[in-house]
Amino acid sequence: MTAPAGPILEVRGAVKAFDGLLAVAGASFDVERGSITALIGPNGAGKTTMFDLLSGFGRPDAGTIRLAGRDIAGMAPYRIANLGLVRTFQLTRVLAGMSVMDNMLLAARNQPGEHLAALILSPGRSRAAEAAARESAIGLLATFGLAAKAGDYAGALSGGQRKLLEIARALMTGPSIVLLDEPMAGVNPTLGRDILDHIAALRSARGTTFLFVEHDMDVVMTRADKVIVMAQGRVIATGTPAGIRADPAVVEAYLGTPHAVAP
């Protein structure tokens, strides 16, 4: 698309209001290519709204959002996804009435069989793409401990498994950046650690960027390279986990007083 250097995501002055209430009030930040970046902030800080703006599920009232140098503000979600930015949802959204495998196969990119003309003109290409997609789906499901569930309905999975499926499904699209909205919520800690390990491995192997919203500060401090802190719709701090921890503005946003600092 554009220059491989520079941040993969650049947000400048993003504003989004709902009935006069500013959910995002002029937020600006960068997400570095190949980083694992955490987006944190107290409840109501505008994190999920920001995710909606980034992924096309909301149109910013003002400001620009650039993905790999290209303005994506207000673009349809499917187009943003096809440009390589894929998200998961805070409340998991698996396709309940479809099998786990079909959930994965649906996410595969470049499947000519999804288009009627190509399907009729070159069914062979569709089948080849399907076989390749199935193979990578099997690999991803194994990584996420869902291999044995491939034939089950996604709606029959436990809450934690659904979360895993949603992340695996997002990765199935071969994204350049993945937005995870509270990926650890409802997942047992051992499994959660596995997910995080896998995310770190993927970043190393493919250079995939991850931006995630998380409330577990242990996870944020140990796993993120960089932290973006939002409060009341604005970005109040960005930096390394260590730097953020020492930032009085962050402490105040969370605790309301400059005294009590978590050890």
């Binding site: 649906l106 069989g113 399907l119 709606g155």
Partner: protein, 308 residues
């Protein structure tokens, strides 16, 4: 009388089957509540009638034109109304169908309530030829048998095509949209385009059904295409089961057997009363089914239960 009677019932069941395949594609597989199917059917049927009678087209060419016009109608409804919420979309489609019907009823070009007559000469030639062949095997007396064969041949071919399509990645995207259109959009699928395709194909199927309706009734008048047609289609869907094309066949056969078979009983009721009783029986059956087998005859219970 009985064989002729059941051949006629079979023709109706087949026509409704083709019609309902489109509803299944919409409501069952992508989750679009299309209540305007009778409108697309009317466009297809009237296009055939008018192009043959007023413009001297060949019946077969007119069939193609009718399909094309119905597809254009489907695209028009889709582009104008698909951004509505699903229940609002349903209302928009029924409004569209009623607009079509009222225009046909009141416009000069469509002959108003007088209808359109005299478009089926080419079909009768073909039908007579088929009857001559059928006479060789002793079936020459059943005048509606050629239409029955043509309707069911078309129905089964279209059924097979749709079943194959549903098994492809294309069909998978439809199901994804039915399950959760936001999640499917977030995976890079153009939900609007798929809904539009689904609607256009359903409209084409309605036009084919309309073609056979035209051949069956031999003259076209607007009240053939009132919304009841669409609701009968949905009754067949509920009986046969959503998201199953086989269910359309089974639901259609069951619905028409129930509805028409009950004509044959001798009762002390007046003709009008008995006609109403038939619908009560069908309604009762639908209630019973929704209690005992909510997924319909061929619907998938497990799939239904895993949904939130």
């Amino acid at each position: 009388m009985s064989v002729d009677f059941w051949i006629n019932v079979g023709v109706l069941a087949g026509i409704y089957g083709i019609f309902t395949l489109g509803l299944q594609l919409n409501a069952g597989f992508i989750g679009l509540l299309n209540f305007g199917q009778a409108g697309f059917m009317a466009i297809g049927a009237y296009a055939v009638g008018l192009l043959v009678v007023d413009f001297g087209w060949s019946l077969w060419l007119a069939l193609l034109a009718g399909i094309l016009l119905a597809v254009i109608g489907g695209l028009f409804v889709g582009i104008s109304s698909l951004r509505l919420r699903s229940d609002h979309f349903a209302i928009a489609t029924i409004a569209f169908a009623e607009i079509v019907r009222y225009v046909l009823q009141n416009a000069e070009f469509s002959g108003g309530n007088q209808g359109v007559l005299g478009y089926d000469e080419e079909w009768r030639t073909l039908s007579d030829w088929a009857l001559a062949k059928l006479a060789l095997i002793g079936l020459g007396d059943y005048t509606q048998l050629p239409l029955f064969i043509a309707v069911w041949l078309a129905f089964l071919v279209l059924l097979a095509v749709l079943i194959v399509l549903q098994g492809t990645p294309w069909g998978r995207v439809l199901r994804g949209i039915r399950e959760d259109e936001d999640a499917t959009a977030a995976l890079g699928k153009n939900v609007f385009a798929y809904k539009l395709q689904s609607l256009a194909i359903a409209a084409a199927l309605a036009a084919v059904a309309g073609f056979f309706v035209a051949l069956n009734v031999t003259f076209l008048y607007p009240s053939v295409f009132d919304p009841t047609f669409t609701f009968f289609g949905y009754a067949m869907l509920v009986l046969g089961g959503f998201a199953s094309y086989g269910g359309v066949v089974l639901g259609g056969i069951l619905f028409w057997t129930l509805l028409e078979g009950t004509r044959l009983f001798d009762t002390a009721l007046s003709a009008g009363q008995q006609a109403s009783l038939r619908f009560i029986i069908v309604g009762f059956f639908l209630l019973l089914l929704s209690r005992l087998r909510p997924q319909g005859l061929l619907g998938n219970r497990a799939e239904m239960r895993v949904r939130p």
